[in-house]
């Protein structure tokens, strides 16, 4: 990464964990970081947010798993991954060796799964903290997604906070597919979340005009990319407005430093770059550099000064 040397102090934090850059990868959009090595200095970015991991290895869903959409894409990967054992054995040591910070995304279908994952990650070298992907179906509630129910969402967060390493900030990752995102945000921070990751994908569907059936094996999928950026920004704005003390990791369609700046001004103290990495494998580093330059141009001495500035 060629970090443009600006005079802007770009350091920030996830909860109490300091990071040198506010720009991170997004869960599921940079795997476990390895493949970005040719394009990005992994130790210089804020953190590698790893693909959501569950207790057991998962094959993920059958293909097709994606459909391109106007300025975005739909995916239905089904959380393919090595499971927590594989993560601990292979991926986290690899990142730790390189001095990269891992912000580990965990997922499950039961409250206890999440808690067990958090416990397994206690004290693991290189782990900076946990992002809790609650956009998963809750097997105990007829498959309703945790993130769509403030009570279920807080149960998960409370359990994770209790089980997790005290030094690990716990971020709850919220879904935009709710009537009242502020209500969910309040519930999970009440339950102990140290911060909020916003937003996960929007539920979408594409039909193949040739087969005349849904493109994705899983019928619906998650919409991401610049198309959803205005929705993501609105969520960040609303939650920061209501809960100005709660740190936000903003994401959804960030492609440039000026996109990231919008999230910062709306209230995010750090951002994740997801789908844009598919377009530009060096996007995370580029966004950092562009954001630093944009802040400098606007006379900010530090990133922190700009957080939530649009509300003032």
């Amino acid at each position: 990464m060629t970090v443009l040397q600006t005079r802007v102090d770009m350091s920030t934090a996830l909860g109490a964990a300091p990071i040198p850059s506010p720009v991170l990868t997004a869960s599921g959009c940079s795997a476990f970081g390895r493949e970005l090595e040719p394009f990005v200095d992994l130790s210089a970015i804020g953190a590698v947010v790893t693909k959501s991991v569950q207790l057991r290895p998962r094959s993920g869903r059958p293909t097709p798993r994606m459909a391109e959409t106007p300025s975005g894409m739909l995916n239905s990967i089904g959380l393919q991954g090595p499971g927590i054992d594989g993560l601990l054995a292979d991926e986290l040591p690899w990142l730790a060796e390189r001095g990269a910070r891992a912000f580990v995304s965990i997922a499950g279908t039961r409250v206890e799964d999440f808690a067990e994952l958090a416990a397994r990650l206690r004290g693991v070298p290189g782990v900076l903290g946990l992002e809790v992907n609650i956009s998963c179906p809750n097997v105990e509630s007829r498959g309703e997604v945790f993130a769509c129910d403030p009570v279920a969402a807080s149960d998960v967060i409370a359990a994770v906070r209790a089980a997790a390493d005290a030094a690990h900030p716990v971020y709850a990752k919220l879904s935009p597919d709710v009537t009242d995102i502020v209500g969910v945000a309040r519930a999970v921070t009440g339950a102990g979340a140290d911060g909020l990751s916003m937003i996960n994908t929007l539920l979408g569907l594409v039909i193949d005009p040739d087969t005349m059936r849904p493109v994705l094996g899983g019928v619906t999928g998650g919409l991401s990319g610049p198309a959803i950026r205005p929705v993501a920004l609105r969520c960040v704005w609303q939650v920061h407005q209501a809960l100005p003390e709660v740190p936000i990791l903003g994401m959804g369609g960030i492609r440039t430093g000026l996109d990231a700046l919008q999230f910062v001004l709306a209230g995010a103290s750090a951002v994740s770059v997801g789908t844009a990495v598919f377009n530009d494998p060096s996007a995370v580093a580029r966004v950092h550099a562009e954001l630093a330059a944009a802040l400098e141009q606007r006379g900010f001495a530090s990133l922190r000064e700009a957080v939530g500035y649009a509300h003032r």
Partner: protein, 292 residues
């Protein structure tokens, strides 16, 4: 079945991302051949690898890169052959000499070397033949005898036949409609040439790859196929491009065709299960799929 192939080797060099210039554009039948001044990619590229282009320019609503096989890479120049399938590839075919293209590559694994002394049979379907030109040249340089079968739906969908004629010992052309070469599928010619082959390399549509791989495997001949799966990232981070592939331990995994492929052992790809989730894929149990 005992495996005939080992997984294709990783690339020697990591990919780079560069803005390159189009220095040649040539319509060839139904396709467009683009020549790119891309020294850093050319010097790294190995036969079987591909590049990924950003498409649509700065105002584009198409976010994802388009993967295109490298046809040849020499003297700082990379050649690709593009078929105008949808909006992204159509945009690529409309580029003009002097235009700049944002490209990442070389990506994916390369075709492995042939067993010593083996005669190689290369089978290309449609624009898939383009991906075999660099391989044919390399094999020929190394003294490996090369037979080629190029097939397509019709004469206008054949590709790189002239280049391959200059490189192959024998070249057979087949078309479904008989508009060029023999009427029929590539397997017509493959079945004839296969007995002499010590290794098969193929690139083209999935049904063709399946037929060629099956024929080779049935005769105990190792085959390598370069598959084409829908890709969102091309670099291995998104997991959209997976296929059920049998690993060295005999277990099937959903393998990424961009980084664990696109070249796979023909006997390792479970063609019949592409697009399905067989119970014996590693991690299928966690998806709720149970052994029958």
């Amino acid at each position: 079945m005992s495996a005939l192939t080992r997984p294709a080797p990783r690339a020697y060099a990591p990919p780079v991302q560069r803005t390159v210039e189009v220095i040649g554009r040539r319509p060839v039948e139904a396709y467009v051949e683009l020549t790119l001044a891309a020294p850093e990619i050319a010097e790294r590229a190995e036969p079987g690898q591909f590049v990924a282009f950003a498409v649509g320019g700065p105002t584009s609503g198409l976010l994802l890169r388009r993967s295109i096989a490298i046809s040849t890479a020499e003297a700082g120049v990379v050649t690709v052959v593009v078929s105008a399938a949808g909006p992204g590839s159509t945009w690529l075919t409309e580029r003009r000499v002097g235009d700049a293209l944002d490209v990442v590559g070389p990506l994916g694994r390369r075709f492995p070397d042939p067993p010593p002394g083996a005669r190689a049979l290369l089978v290309g379907g449609g624009y898939g033949a383009a991906a075999l030109v660099g391989l044919a040249a390399r094999l020929r340089d190394r003294g490996c005898p090369v037979d080629v079968v190029a097939g397509a739906a019709g004469a206008d969908r054949l590709c790189s036949v002239q280049e391959l004629t200059g490189l192959a010992d024998r070249l057979e052309v087949t078309t479904d409609d008989g508009s060029s070469g023999r009427r029929g599928l590539v397997t017509l010619a493959v079945d004839e040439l296969l007995p002499e082959a010590g290794v098969v390399y193929a690139c083209g549509p999935m049904p063709m790859l399946r037929a060629v791989a099956d024929a080779a495997t049935a005769r105990g001949i190792p085959s390598y196929v370069a598959v084409e799966e829908s890709m969102a990232c091309g670099i291995g981070v998104c997991m959209t491009c997976v296929l059920p592939v049998v690993g060295e331990d005999g277990r099937t995994r959903f393998s990424r065709s961009c980084t664990e492929g696109p070249v796979f052992g023909g006997d390792r790809v479970r063609f019949a299960d592409v697009g399905a989730l067989p119970w014996d894929v590693v991690g299928a149990d966690a998806m709720g799929v149970v052994a029958p």
